[in-house]
């Protein structure tokens, strides 16, 4: 349940930004570890890439890309809010960030399929 005083678009944008930031912090080390496999152990990256070709894993990657995209676009919105002259269209920008993130991550999903 979301408390009544939080039920507005920009609070939800904030919550999404925090959740995606924390999720990135958890997943990025794993991501870099996997990349490091390419440099260190023979064949293990290939094993991993074969594993990651499964549809479920592809779908999880879609989630990751979505998180990165929403955090990136949402972060840009926050920095624009704080450093550029004020614009009253904050909700529109938050919606654009969401739409942009879906676009980027769905493009990945379609090209992976």
């Amino acid at each position: 349940m979301i408390a009544p005083h939080r039920k507005h678009a920009l609070w939800l944008a904030y919550a999404l930004h925090r959740a995606s930031g924390l999720a990135l912090a958890v997943f990025l080390p794993v991501h870099f570890y996997v990349l490091s496999l390419a440099l260190t152990t023979d064949g293990r990256l290939d094993d991993f890439l074969i594993w990651s070709d499964q549809p479920l894993v592809k779908f999880a990657e879609f989630g990751l890309i979505f998180l990165l995209a929403i955090h990136f676009f949402g972060g840009l919105r926050l920095m624009a809010l704080e450093f550029l002259p004020w614009s009253p269209r904050q909700k529109t920008y938050a919606a654009f960030a969401l739409a942009g993130s879906f676009f980027v991550s769905c493009t990945f999903l379609l090209s992976a399929a």
Binding site: W11, L78, Q90
Partner: protein
Amino acid sequence: MSADGRILKISVWRSGADADAGSFQDFQVPANQHQTVLDVVSWIQQNQDPSLSYRFACRVGMCGSCAMMVNGKPRWTCRTHVKKVLEDGFMRIEPLRNLPVIKDLVTDMDPFFDKWIAAEGVFHPTKSRHDAFASIKPDNPARIEANKAVECINCAVCFAACDVVANNADYLGPAALNRTWSLVNDARDGGQAARLQAISQSGGCHNCHSQQGCTNFCPNELNPTASIAGLKRKTIATMFKRGQHA
């Protein structure tokens, strides 16, 4: 007022022996066509329980003393129409969030006002009565910025809406920082260095996450988030300027 026969179900927070611990008490209040939340609270106090404590003064949205939580959202009760906030004929009325409760619906506003002082939300004059008036043109950009922030009635609705206030006891809060921003843009003020120092510290403007609960609920349609963003820019610009001298 014309009663239309409907009955409102109202649940009001009552303090126990210990002011912070208490429980809800239910009341049935006759509905009227043009009825504010404050009218409902006053009706209960006048007709059902004279010991109910609450605070108001002007009843026209000037004094900022009547704010309460209504169905979980902070509102100025004297100018909030019941029909705007009623949910299924029901209204839950609580003291303002993020402030200590004195009794029932009355909060202790001291922490709120102490933070105005801590945020250097006070004017530091540079002239005496013997000097000529400062002349500031209405189209002066700083004056335009100050104008946008100046109509605050100190109601603490924004303070109650802000989750950073709830989670960080040191955070100065939207109203105090909004006030600071109007003074940062006041050419007559002589205390700018101390002011920027005060709001750059832990608990200052950089603690704001731009959630905009304050802006969403401010009954005077002020925009504390924009004011705080202004302070963020100002403090960062000042930091770079200082860096050049060091």
